[in-house]
């Protein structure tokens, strides 16, 4: 309750939280496409590539107006993305190397420019440094307004080109064959990605911006198989981690906002990877365990069937030790027999003697008939 009260009353915190929420929303939504298109690291490279753009914009105009710097950053990031694509297309250098080169070389060049700027008399480069590490606390209401406007335009464009973007993410060739402008959609998505990266730089900084793009999207991916749901969920996760991060960093002393936001998003991913229904690791393990149990159970049932087939009566009892010897791992028949007993497929005739029931015989035949040779269905 305290936190909510503080959120309502504290002007700075409110601004920061609003900014982080808007940022998380757009980057989450756009990041969904980056993750699906296996371009998760392109965002990382582009956010680094923006640095020389920012520095050049300042060097050329002498202005530190956010719009000028954002424009420079966007141009540089965009140029970087273009370079990566053309290098991978026209040489044997592959995507990962091209991205690594782009981010480190552009960043290095940006650093050179920054050190040159530092020597100028009008330096006071606080505004520029904030792009390196992000300064969420320095967000002003005007910045948030600008971010919101850009976010609205971005989301509107995404909606307008929804069909094309969707095809681009899943089946580009098909989209091309349908005569839909896949190139244009690609350009649009890349541009939107650059824009959302650039507006985020000021808040969380170069290193952490890419995490804000892909982490919410990666979390959202675990909960759904529908693109629309994923994009909305990613937006929500992004906004949520933005607000949570902002609030947490405000309540505890000396906690920079950017890293806290990233950790919040990281926690969401961890939770999603573990617990998301059907996909999550916990569910995977549970499913494996269940199917393993079922396979072992079916195997014991079939062993018993094979043994009793050597006798006139199908329900001829057999010693458990024989089944133990046949089971894999050896000696594991006991648990399986208990499960079979629960399902009424076997009966216990003496202390260690087991026999198939009629239902068990029927079940064994069914397993043998089924194309997978047993272990399927329930």
């Amino acid at each position: 309750m305290d936190i909510l009260q503080q959120l309502a009353s504290d002007y700075t915190l409110r601004t920061v939280a609003a900014g982080a929420a808007v940022l998380g929303l757009t980057s989450g939504a756009l990041g969904s496409f980056a993750v699906l298109r296996r371009q998760s690291l392109l965002g990382d490279a582009m956010s680094h590539a923006a640095l020389p753009g920012i520095a050049l914009a300042f060097l050329l105009t002498g202005s530190k107006a956010p719009l000028v710097l954002v424009l420079g950053a966007a141009l540089a990031g965009w140029l970087g993305a273009l370079l990566v694509l053309s290098v991978t297309r026209s040489s044997r250098v592959r995507m990962d190397s091209a991205l690594g080169l782009l981010l480190s070389v552009f960043f290095g060049f940006g650093l050179v420019l920054l050190t040159i700027i530092q020597r100028r008399p009008d330096a006071n480069q606080a505004g520029l440094e904030s792009y390196l590490f992000g300064q969420a606390a320095a967000l002003l209401a005007g910045d948030v307004l600008l971010m919101t406007a850009i976010a609205l335009v971005t989301l509107f464009l995404l909606l307008a080109a929804w069909k094309e973007c969707k095809l681009l993410a899943f089946d580009r060739e098909f989209g091309e064959s349908m005569g839909l402008g896949m190139r244009k959609a690609d350009l649009l998505l890349t541009t939107l990605l650059v824009v959302s990266i650039v507006i985020g730089l000021q808040t969380v900084g170069v290193v952490l911006m890419s995490a804000l793009l892909i982490t919410p999207a990666a979390a959202a991916r675990q909960w759904t198989d529908r693109l629309s749901t994923m994009v909305v969920l990613a937006g929500v996760f992004g906004a949520l981690s933005g607000v949570t991060g902002a609030v947490l960093s405000a309540t505890a002393n000396r906690l920079p906002t950017g890293p806290v936001i990233v950790l919040c998003a990281g926690a969401m991913v961890a939770l999603s990877l573990l617990a998301a229904p059907r996909r999550g690791v916990v569910w995977q393990r549970l499913r494996e365990f269940r199917s393993g149990r079922r396979l072992r159970m079916d195997a014991v049932l079939l062993d018993l069937y094979a043994l009793s087939a050597q006798h006139e009566v199908p329900g001829h009892p057999h010693d458990r030790r024989v089944l133990d010897m046949m089971a894999r791992p050896t000696g594991a028949a006991k648990r399986s027999l208990r499960f079979l007993l629960e399902r009424g497929y076997v009966v216990r005739t003496a202390s260690r003697e087991w026999a198939l029931t009629e239902a068990g015989t029927e079940r064994a035949r069914e397993l043998l008939r089924s194309p997978r040779g047993g272990g399927s269905g329930s």
Partner: protein, 370 residues
């Protein structure tokens, strides 16, 4: 050139060489972005090591950082193996999270940790000569020269010792596994070396520019050669030259040395990308142009051969007719004709093209080859 300048360049060259060696394998194994991930995620390892030992040059920092590097690699692989996320997304999530942990650790212990995030990200090689390695009061040069020299030797030793295993595991992991070379072990050893190298290099060039030195020179060399040995040597040479070039560029501009080194690495790659003798952009364009010319010339000769006994050859064997018949653009046709004339394959009698004996031989061979 003062002793300090010489020392800075020496450190730069050693750092570049140490980075290029494991970097070459990262580039070949398509794991270049792992260098970015590892160089960022070692931050919490460095911080924890520093908090425990209180000494920024303690070898435990390297151990801690190498351990965090391996944690990064295993986490990425764990997520990748669960098939819940693609590997690139896994990398992109794991390293910012670990980096954030590092930044927060620094922020929480700001009083005790004299460690700037700036310093980790950017490094400052210009300070290298101030930190001396002087056991028993004997000045043996900058400490970072010894540290990075040691790391470079370890990298070199590893590659020499496991050259065959690395080669097979890199180009054919399946074969390596079948031969009992334990590609997974090689992989982790390599990543451990990448981590150790990144730690050693971070106070010289910072964690982002480590990526430039690890990936840039091998990527440039990769465009230049097909042989692993040549690639390794070239990577080290390109890295070393870029380091020296970067130093002098920084001097000329009075700018960041690390940044200039990365810029020169970028230029080196651009030069290789454009002008590599075989795979360069320019060489490729020239080759295509040459092939186009050869093909056009053969087309012309074969056309003339086909129509040699044609009663209408006064029409079909004119330069203008080629435009219509072969659907060539007028300048392509006239260009081809004048080229063929100059090489003595074709002559013109009153505007009608005819094959010379040489031209007939070439045309006949071209038809045969078809």
């Amino acid at each position: 050139m003062s002793a300090a300048q010489l020392e800075i360049q020496l450190v730069a060259v050693v750092v570049a060489a140490a980075c290029a060696l494991p970097g070459a394998f990262l580039v070949l194994r398509r794991m270049a972005m792992m260098s970015d991930a590892v160089s960022h995620s070692i931050l919490p390892g460095i911080v924890v090591g520093f908090l425990l030992t209180g000494d920024l040059s303690s070898p435990w920092l390297i151990v801690g950082a190498a351990a965090t590097g391996l944690v990064t690699v295993s986490l990425v692989e764990f997520i990748g193996r669960s098939r819940l996320l693609k590997e690139d997304a896994a990398i992109g999530i794991v390293f910012p999270v670990l980096f954030s942990v590092g930044v927060l650790l620094i922020a929480r212990n700001a009083g005790d940790v004299h460690l700037d995030v700036d310093a980790v990200l950017l490094g400052e090689i210009a300070f290298a000569p101030f930190d001396r390695f002087a056991p028993l009061g004997l000045d043996l040069g900058p400490r970072s020269l010894w540290v990075m020299g040691g790391i470079a030797l370890i990298n070199l030793g590893f590659i020499l010792l496991f050259y065959k295993e690395l080669k097979v595991a890199t180009f054919d992991a399946g074969l390596a596994a079948a031969l009992g070379f334990a590609p997974a072990l090689i992989h982790y050893l390599l990543m451990a070396l990448v981590s150790v190298t990144a730690v050693g290099a971070f106070d010289a060039v910072g964690s982002i520019l480590v990526v430039a030195l690890m990936i840039g020179p091998p990527a440039a060399a990769y465009v230049l050669t097909d042989r692993l040995k040549t690639l390794l040597v070239l990577s080290v040479v390109i890295g070393g030259l870029s380091a020296i070039g970067g130093y002098w560029l920084a001097r000329a501009l009075d700018a960041s040395i690390g940044g200039s080194m990365a810029t020169v690495v970028g230029l080196a790659f651009a030069a290789a990308y454009l002008f590599a003798p075989e795979r360069g952009l320019v060489a490729g364009a020239l080759r295509r142009e040459r092939q186009r010319r050869t093909f056009t010339e053969r087309m012309l000769l074969v056309h003339l051969l086909q129509h040699e006994r044609d009663p209408d050859r006064g029409i079909t064997c004119r330069s203008e007719h080629l435009v219509e018949h072969l659907r060539w653009k007028p300048d392509v046709a006239s260009d081809a004709v004048s080229r063929a004339r100059r090489s003595g394959l074709v002559r013109i009698d009153e505007g009608v093209l005819a094959l010379t004996p040489d031209g007939r031989a070439v045309a006949a061979r071209a038809v045969e080859e078809l």
